[in-house]
């Protein structure tokens, strides 16, 4: 092989032998997002960037991809200083990014998504047939099978991710930034994705892997750099890293990674769901006859890939969405036709999936949000007038006991961090001492510290003898908290697994819609 050939990747584009970021500083009004950060990655390796939310990972990568510009510091590619002002610049230099939230246009086809923004070989006309051919070629090289004419909305999340990777490779990406790429995948899809990553690395791509899943970082990466509060906390080879060390570097203190769960005696059925059916917003069947029950003193985990009916299930149970068939019993009482208000008053609490949209009114103050549920009742109001003094004492008490960090109780909720907002939701819902708690993705988007806090509170509910339905896409979370696990796929329960027998593989197959009998 000649010298020039080894310069090239199988896609025909040039390698990036070394990318270095030196002393990157980025200031936002009131925040130092990156403080003299050094980071580098070489051809043929995976370098993990680890850190909590707000640690500055995304900011650093957006600078590398040209979405932000740094206040100080330089970027070097193959020992040459470069300036990157836009994603277009980044792509020309061979830098690609797979965003956590896919950057795909649902109503366009795979080929149209890939062709978007590219020069066409036919001038101002599109050349989708040429693009499709190249997509199939790239799919062949990297094991990324996709149908170029399929619309994005028809694809599974795993397939959509393949489209994202192809999009970057098509544009000649030699360096790929992967922003939490496994967050939305089933365990099996993660395995397939890792195969593709290894293929890219051995072909000479340079990969940056952003994650907060420590075992994945140790599995797939060569080196890891940990950011905390915008600064590099440390950088080391994954060979001499353990989950414990990395978690400590991220959070700055020791964490109890495994929870001890005391045995709790099961009580009566608190929540029972019978043959529940409902439609999605698109009027397609979202629930196709769901049955389960939750006892007091247990956490029932509902696992599943996002979009398989979890949201609709939570909404039907809490009265926000009508059921087309079936019944919901709360403490033995049929509440299928009850209003959300009636259901809540009969002892149900709800932690909604979208805490900013459904859980809080973000322009309202902390104190106001804390009485949203009960503002019309004693002691918060009397004959239609708010009792502002109790509202204020209530806020003080809850802020204190739920350890919420807020400048004051008058602060609008939108200016708090995700973790503190979730603490407010918990405070409002749990302080009413509900018998049944529906917790939908309660730690999505939260950092390790806040996640740990939420988990402790959920386990407290269990010990207090209450019934909890935990709906989560995070298998680690379900395995850590649930006593029994049920798996939902396309609106049906695929099976139930007791915690003791649950493994990621077993649940993963159920999540992919493969029932136990079909597993071999």
């Amino acid at each position: 092989m000649s010298e020039t050939q080894s310069e090239l990747l199988p896609t025909g584009h040039r390698r990036i032998h070394k990318m270095e970021m030196h002393g990157i500083t980025k200031r936002f009004p009131g925040v130092l997002a990156n403080d003299k950060v050094d980071f580098d990655v070489s051809s043929g390796e995976v370098h993990a960037l680890l850190g909590e939310n707000g640690a500055g990972k995304s900011t650093l990568m957006k600078i590398l991809y040209g979405l932000y510009s740094q206040n100080e510091g330089d970027i070097w590619l193959n020992d040459e200083k470069v300036s990157i002002h836009s994603p277009g610049d980044a792509m020309r230099l061979g830098i690609g990014m797979i965003h956590q939230h896919f950057m795909l246009v649902d109503s366009l086809t795979v080929a149209e998504n890939v062709a978007l923004g590219l020069e066409s070989s036919r001038g101002f006309l599109t050349d989708l047939d040429v693009v499709s051919e190249r997509i199939l070629e790239l799919g062949e090289i990297y094991g990324l099978q996709v149908e170029p004419d399929a619309y994005i909305w028809q694809l599974s999340v795993g397939q959509q991710q393949r489209v994202e990777i192809i999009k970057a490779l098509y544009r000649g990406a030699a360096l790929l930034i992967l922003d939490e790429p496994t967050a939305v995948l089933t365990p099996q899809e993660v395995d397939e994705f890792f195969v593709t990553m290894r293929q890219m690395v051995s072909d000479g791509h340079a990969l940056i892997f952003i994650s907060h899943k420590l075992h994945e970082v140790i599995d797939i990466c060569d080196r890891v750099t940990v950011l905390r509060d915008g600064r590099v906390e440390g950088s080391r080879s994954t060979k001499d890293a353990t989950k414990g060390i990395l978690a400590e570097m991220m959070v700055g203190r020791e964490l109890g990674l495994e929870k001890d769960k005391p045995d709790v005696a099961l009580g009566d059925v608190q929540l029972q769901v019978e043959n529940l059916k409902a439609l999605s917003n698109r009027e397609t069947p979202a629930l196709r006859g769901v049955d389960f029950e939750v006892y007091s003193g247990e956490i029932l985990g509902l696992a599943g890939v996002s979009g398989n009916g979890q949201r609709e299930l939570a909404e039907v149970i809490t009265g926000l969405r009508p059921a087309t068939d079936g019944k919901v019993f709360l403490k033995g009482q049929d509440v299928s036709q009850a209003s959300p208000g009636q259901i809540m008053e009969s002892g149900m609490a709800y932690i909604p999936e979208e805490r900013m949209r459904d859980g809080m009114i973000k322009e309202f103050s902390v104190a106001e949000n804390l009485i949203l549920r009960e503002h019309h009742q004693q002691p918060f109001s009397q004959s239609g007038f708010l009792n502002l003094k109790t509202v204020s004492t209530n806020a003080d008490t809850l802020i204190e006991s739920y350890n919420v960090k807020t400048p004051s109780q008058e602060t609008p909720v939108k200016s708090l961090s995700g973790g503190n907002i979730q603490k407010l939701v918990l405070a409002r819902e749990l302080s009413r001492q509900p018998d049944v708690l529906i917790a939908s993705q309660p730690t999505r988007g939260l950092d390790i510290g806040a996640t740990e806090y939420v988990h402790e509170r959920l386990l407290e509910q269990r010990e207090a003898g209450r019934a909890t339905l935990l709906i989560s896409e995070d298998l680690d979370e379900i395995m850590a908290l649930a006593d029994r696990i049920i798996v939902i796929f396309e609106g049906s329960i695929m099976g139930e697994v007791p915690r003791a027998e649950a493994t990621a593989e077993k649940l993963g197959l159920l999540m992919a819609g493969i029932a136990e009998g079909e597993q071999h």
């Binding site: 836009s86 795909l104 649902d106 109503s107 998504n113 923004g117 599109t126």
Partner: protein, 310 residues
């Protein structure tokens, strides 16, 4: 009397004027389609039409040259389109409100200029029917379709052109992507603002031409508020047509035919109170929108201001 409506001559007359009256709807709605497909709702169409109508009328009146009049409409549309783009894209104003502002501005300014510069009712000799050789000789069809003026032909030609641009060109792909998911387009190096400036300015030019088609091709006069809601119906037609040029064409024809029908009802003195006749297109707007709009999904980013970053 009612039977008068069903003579061949009257039916041909209704169809021919229906085709002719579709002209302003088509220019304005196709222009609005481009804007909305890229995510910008321009409610100022009516105001842009009025200014275009006056500009074309005034220049034609003073120079006697129709083409200069049309050019004036294009320039006015360009300026008004840029204004709307500046307000809604650069200044990131709420599109529903800023469009109404542009409408009121156009309404007031066109009337003011008319009072100051013309003052009395004047007419111009507008674009004359061009009989297309051979085709216009076909009985019935020739009279309906091929004996119209140039601006009518232009409006109908716009439909396949718009379809082609939106679906077969890289520009169209960018427009559709920006209207559905501007973040995605931005991440691929497509300038969201540039695309929106282009579509909104194009929409302004076409709205202004729509106005000109009234003042120098169909009615050949200018008067205060002569569009009387036509620009708003044009916006509704985009919803009715589900953001597709062919759908917009169907909607425009439906409305213009109803309009033609009500005009003929008045001409033939059919005993339906004229107020009801005049109401027909507007009632139809509401009915059609209720029936169609709930079933189609608008571009996801429609009316949403795009700002980079979370």
């Amino acid at each position: 009397m009612i039977a008068d409506l069903f003579t061949a001559q009257v039916i041909i007359g209704i169809l021919a004027s229906g085709i002719r009256l579709a002209t302003p709807y088509l220019y304005a709605s196709i222009g609005e389609t481009f804007g909305q497909r890229s995510g910008v709702l321009n409610l100022g169409v009516e105001g842009q039409m009025l200014l275009g109508a006056f500009g074309a009328f005034f220049v034609t009146l003073t120079t006697g040259n129709l083409w200069l009049g049309l050019l004036a409409a294009v320039i006015i549309g360009l300026v008004m389109g840029l204004l709307m783009a500046f307000i809604s894209v650069t200044l990131q104003a709420q599109q529903g409100i800023s469009g109404i502002g542009v409408y009121l501005f156009g309404l007031g300014l066109s009337d003011l200029l008319f009072q100051k510069l013309v003052g009395t009712v004047e007419t111009v000799s507008g674009f004359r029917p061009v009989h297309i050789p051979f085709l216009s000789d076909i009985p019935v069809l020739g009279e309906i379709f091929f004996s119209q003026n140039l601006m009518v032909y232009g409006a109908f030609a716009l439909v396949p052109i718009a379809w082609f641009v939106l679906n077969k060109t890289t520009l169209g792909l960018k427009i559709r992507a920006v209207g559905e998911n501007p973040q995605a387009a931005d991440s691929l190096g497509v300038s969201v603002n540039r695309v929106r400036y282009f579509t909104v300015t194009l929409g302004g030019i076409l709205a202004s031409i729509a106005g000109a088609s009234l003042s120098i091709a169909l009615l050949n006069v200018f008067q205060q508020n002569m569009t009387s809601g036509l620009g708003f119906i044009a916006v509704a037609l985009v919803y009715f047509g589900a953001w597709r040029p062919l759908g917009v064409l169907a909607g425009a024809l439906l409305f213009s035919l109803v309009n033609a029908l009500q005009l003929w009802i008045q001409v033939l003195s059919i005993p339906i109170p004229p107020d009801f006749a005049v109401m027909m297109p507007y009632v139809l707007t509401i009915v059609a929108l209720v029936l169609t709009v709930s079933r189609v999904r608008p571009p996801s980013a429609l009316t949403k201001v795009y700002e980079r970053g979370e």
